[in-house]
């Protein structure tokens, strides 16, 4: 297993647009996609944000944010900042806003989002350990899926997950893509004395979640073993060790890692992230057999 300790990688989430907007053909404020931007300040450098819609929660997305090679990961959901307004689509991204006193005006589709990092709680479920957001995403321009300009700034809350610096995305596409982790058996080629396999299975779960089992042979840094992966959000899995006892195999309640699958230049990657330490990220090269 290759352990990367370079820069940052964050998984966040947000709201794309209300279902009613999508249904009528309006361009969502932040479309599902893969964006490349720049990080400002002391940690200047290239940064990427990948977004994927959360099924059943219209307008919400899970997003991965990372700098250079993945080395920092946070998981988040996001809530659209529409304050006390109710948005009604009118035409071409213009909406009518109705305030407390029925003051009606016309503004662009709500352009601010709060991003709150996910974590894993003691029950082994993905949740938001701190409900306060760590970032605010502001859309500056949205001409189409390939030309979306937005900025990420610190939410100035007590949630300091991720680099607390500004990031600017100016419509450039990233070569990374979120990958759902297609069902099948993946081989982890021998690399830095680490190898093994991941077997992703589609289950008949009522919510369509997938599970996977993984066998890792380990390396100098981490012990190997067998693991259970359970999908908790689109393409986001928890990663729990399996103990083999006289009474049978049992899954440890507390997952130590979260796994996200990504594709870069046609090659699959699985990233194992410690939710309590956003710089503890391991990269696994995986090959679908």
């Amino acid at each position: 297993m290759k352990t990367q300790m370079k820069k940052y990688l964050v998984v966040l989430g947000g709201i794309l647009a209300p279902a009613m907007v999508l249904a009528q053909g309006f361009t969502p404020a932040v479309p599902e996609g893969s964006y490349r931007g720049l990080m400002r300040g002391l940690e200047e450098g290239r940064v990427r944000m990948l977004t994927e819609t959360i099924r059943g929660c219209e307008g919400c997305f899970v997003a991965v944010l990372f700098k250079d090679r993945p080395a920092f990961l946070g998981l988040g959901d996001a809530e659209r900042r529409i304050d006390t307004y109710k948005a009604v689509p009118l035409h071409n991204q213009k909406i009518t806003v109705r305030g407390k006193n029925d003051v009606v005006g016309e503004i662009n589709t709500s352009n601010e989002y709060s991003l709150t990092p996910f974590g894993v709680d003691t029950d082994g479920e993905i949740t938001t350990p701190n409900a306060n957001p760590s970032y605010i995403l502001t859309v500056q321009k949205n001409i189409g899926a390939s030309d979306v300009h937005f900025e990420l700034t610190s939410a100035s809350s007590d949630n300091k997950s991720g680099p607390q610096t500004s990031m600017i995305f100016s419509g450039n596409e990233s070569s990374f893509d979120l990958d759902d982790g297609k069902p099948g058996r993946y081989k982890i080629p021998m690399h830095l004395r680490s190898s093994g396999s991941i077997n992703i299975i589609t289950t008949n779960s009522q919510d369509g979640s997938r599970v996977a089992t993984a066998t890792l042979l380990g390396n100098d840094h981490e012990a190997g073993g067998t693991f259970m992966l359970k999908e908790k959000a689109p393409g986001v899995f928890t990663f729990s060790a399996i103990s083999h006892l006289a009474t049978g195999a049992v899954v440890q309640e507390m997952p130590k890692k979260i796994v996200v699958f990504m594709k870069h230049c046609g090659r699959e990657r699985a990233y194992l992230v410690n939710p309590t330490n956003d710089k503890d990220v391991s990269e696994l090269k995986v090959v679908l057999l």
Binding site: A19, R55, E58, E79, D123, S205, Q206, D207, V211, E231
Partner: protein, 289 residues
Amino acid sequence: MKTISNFLILGTLALVAPKFVQAQTLPNSSIEYADGPSGKLDLGEIKDIKSYAFNANTSIKRLLNTVEHMSDSEEIKKILIRGIDGKDGILASSTDKRSVLLLTNSLQSGMTLVKMIDLNTIKRGIAYTPQGTVDQQNRIMKQSLIFARDYYQSDFEFINGVLAKNEAVTNPKFVEFGLKMTQFLIKMSDGVLSARGAYGMIRWSLAVLANDIKNDKEIGIAYAATQANLVKTLLSRDEATGLPNYPDLVNGEMAPEDVDCIAKIRELKLLAQQSFDEITDATKTMIKK
């Protein structure tokens, strides 16, 4: 620190509150739906409740042991629903009189929320169901069982106290329970990706708090202002927004669109924090007197 403070306040609350409470009546509301036991309990009924509580506690422990190391989410859900709410489940033999037990109140709250999430996601089909929904439902049921197990001791002491005094009493500590339960449910809602599901949980848990204050015949009146504000605010917001309230949410009426829910979740969280602060302040006032 806040948790310790809450514990101290809740502990003191039970000791000093009865002396403080004057003979007043709680404001009426149209939000009544989870009334506590009606009328007084005679000794025969108390003995029956004691026996029921003992057996229920055993069943709770057995159920938790059964699912502790299971990994199949669907199987866990089936076992938990059958064990709690099935025809031979813990709640099946719970009569109106047995609702005096905080143990049964805890389980009923958990099951109501599981049904609410079912109706707003799973029953609508896979397109409306975020990944991980079943695991979140299992988490709610497991935590409700743990909550119920913890409250068994309190229930047992209450029943024994009643038997020792040889008098009929109907005063479970509903305010204390309601406060803890509401805080617990709001925390649970942070992990629910469906905004509809999370909104339903928070809306319902605040109404439960209002009801628990009303049901606490010993000290509830000390928190009458908070109860009245909760009822007034929840109902006026439902009316203004056309949002369904309980029991509509539980009986199949859909929660509003996600984008509406997200805005309302923020408002309700503010209302919750305000109510918690008021209860804390009122309790401190009682302690001083």
